[in-house]
Symmetry: C2
Subunit: 189 residues, 2 copies
Amino acid sequence: MNFCSQCGAAAIELRVPEGDTLPRYVCAACHTIHYRNPKIVVGCLPEWRGKVLLCKRAIVPRLGLWTLPAGFLENGETLAAGALRETLEEAKAQVDIGELYTVISLPHISQVYMMFRARLASLDFGPGPESLEVRLFDEDDVPWGELAFRTITRTLRNYFLDRKLGGLRLHVSAIEKRATLKPELTGAA
Amino acid sequence: MNFCSQCGAAAIELRVPEGDTLPRYVCAACHTIHYRNPKIVVGCLPEWRGKVLLCKRAIVPRLGLWTLPAGFLENGETLAAGALRETLEEAKAQVDIGELYTVISLPHISQVYMMFRARLASLDFGPGPESLEVRLFDEDDVPWGELAFRTITRTLRNYFLDRKLGGLRLHVSAIEKRATLKPELTGAA
């Protein structure tokens, strides 16, 4: 933030406003406080006869890797509406949204993932503009080494494990920033 | 938004960017797209031997009405950390955060409420700067007519009903804009 979006002044300061506890972008000219807050990524895990629907990303980041349909919740949307929209956009798929399944905080990038279970309404699906390919996968065929995000890996792992254990339940968790370990710390050569 | 926070130009247009589907604030000078997304309100329902902890608001909106400790999730925070912080700020109370209990989309104001169950760690609590009073309530004493937000009423109603039914489970729902009905439509005089 270089300029105040309210008054246009090049007078943005990062400081703790009076009565607040955290630093904010504050305009020294018009005193507007510009708050920044985490974003919600909403999506779903579309199921079809034991298989799950994944999309191969046609966009950065993680172009060419596989993901569940998900994206930023938009203003004016409910969570379920956002999950439906993303699934239609990325996989051209109609789903019935089920229970909320994983909620994952990503504090280092100020995002919260919220993934619902969903039932694919038909086999009429295909890549939207943000996908290269859309496919149904059995557990054994899931490209575990080519998943785009840790949130997606966690959601899919929870799902297949819960299925084996006989009950799907909400998982609320957090994923912290991944440390970059030097080889001598990992035990690798 | 009157000015571009990137380049300072008074050239903000509301239009659908190429490849997008929704209108955004776009700077005609430097082409920055200024996205706006829903905010998360995170909080908890602190329990103590069958009672729940409520805070009387010292700030607008809804000054003087009762609420559960909750507020905007901050950048860099997990959901649980946000619920802990809000409870400490508003009720000076230490809690142990439990299960996620209500998730309520409010599309007309682009917010998503996420309320956790919580156990009050001690009776050492009191009003923070945003509260006039903090008290424990039995179900019969809850000031149902003086609650600050419909999200809070719904969370508390779910809670006391679930307790009667013998099991607390996640509730995911939405609250739409409340219509202002004219008397002839409501049946009132």
